[in-house]
Symmetry: C2
Subunit: 258 residues, 2 copies
């Protein structure tokens, strides 16, 4: 137990020494489960508050790649939708006392670590859209707890992370207008109803069934597969999947669909 702690301290110090000071990345990793958007959150430092997964930027690393690294570390995913969306740089965005306290509580208070976390940090935030079923959550390093939290039920987070999540969700809403986000958030095959409920849960409003279907199909990015017999007492719905070719083309052409 003691050794483990020493190990952690040495590891963290090593990371600190090879990272850019004063700047971090935070990832809002969004998935979809139980008909709700979910954000991957973790409890760091034994804190009582949830926080976004984040990381430091190695001295010779592009910040975009730091975000890719964080995403992979937490979910195991290598390729996924990932996009920078805002940089949070308010002078007092972090409550430093809180951090130092948590560090002490968990016994990670070497001088180097203390002075590192005592800095002002500017954080660049990234939005990732992932298929939850493909994620391999692994609590790592100083965070002992890591789980999906429904967007609607998010309470007070660490620092300014509530604002970060808020801005990320806004971003998704806008994305929806020119990007069929289902490709990233749903499993490979899904029913039209699945897709509609996803859109409804993002837009927070009911959509007309018939019109939704027509609109999506007119985009010409879906392939209709065999029917899904769910065992329910009604017509079996078709399964759909995205046509990779056409999806790619849609992205390139940057076509609006609103």
């Amino acid at each position: 137990m003691k050794d483990n702690q020493e190990d952690l301290i040495r590891k963290l110090e090593l990371q600190i020494k090879s990272s850019v000071p004063g700047h971090s990345v935070d990832c809002v990793i969004v998935g979809y489960k139980d008909e709700e958007l979910q954000v991957l959150m973790l409890k760091q430092f034994n804190s009582d508050k949830w926080a976004l997964p984040g990381g430091f930027i190695y001295k010779n690393e592009d910040i975009d790649f730091a975000a890719v690294r964080v995403l992979k570390e937490r979910t195991g995913l290598e390729y996924s939708f990932l996009e920078q969306f805002y940089t949070f740089g308010k002078y007092k965005r972090r409550n430093i006392e809180e951090v130092i306290n948590d560090l002490k509580n968990i016994g990670l208070d070497s001088p180097l670590i203390q002075s590192w976390f005592n800095q002002r940090f500017i954080s660049t935030a990234y939005l990732a859209l992932v298929d939850i079923n493909e994620c391999n959550l692994k609590p790592k390093g100083i965070s002992n707890n890591c789980d999906w939290r429904p967007v609607a039920g998010i309470t007070e987070l660490m620092f300014d992370h509530n604002k970060i999540v808020e801005k990320a969700i806004e971003k998704i809403k806008k994305q929806l207008n020119y990007l069929p986000v289902g490709k990233s958030l749903l499993p490979k095959q899904f029913t039209m109803n699945d897709l509609q409920r996803l859109h409804e849960s993002i837009l927070q409003k009911k959509l007309d069934r018939g019109n939704f279907q027509k609109k999506i199909l007119k985009l010409d990015v879906l392939i209709r597969r065999e029917k899904l017999y769910s065992g329910a007492a009604h017509k079996a719905p078709y399964l759909y999947e995205f046509d990779d070719e056409k999806y790619k083309k849609l992205l390139e052409d940057g076509i609006a669909f609103l």
Copy 2:
């Protein structure tokens, strides 16, 4: 002359000491003149390349405010459209040798200054839309030249500034779909033709005169004023100005007009 140089060095060193290391802001300040979008650019350090106006972030200053400060320093404007749009953090985004060389050439090579500019810098970029007629350009500090450059004719800039400008222009195009940018870029009063040409120069395509007029007027944010007699041999056009109240409301409601 020597004293002046010493002064500059001391001033710069003072600024360096009170700034956050490794992070800067760059402003793409966009105006409209001669039927073209124009970007405010400057020649720093006697370099042969143009660069965007930028600045460092004081240790106790929000980054947003650093951008406000840069905008004011360069244009004299206090209130204007100003929005963060991207953070550029590639490891090798700046050619450090180039900078050090320029610093030497101009005689600004104290050890502190050298080591400061020798750092990796991550830069958060802001887009400002301004009315050129209201700007008071003032070359200041280490930059001896400062002027409006037409977007179309921009050649090779310092560092990754070409990319920054490119992304800013993309942003404006998107803005145009839900924000009548004329409010920020045109003088208080203008003709419908002025506004149309502005839109055309942003979208890089011709628009139908009749349809444009109807579309804009339907937005219900313009007030029609007296006619403008230009002395030309044709019907005099009306002057228009934005209705501040309705414009504000439009922004709040976030109404799309595409």
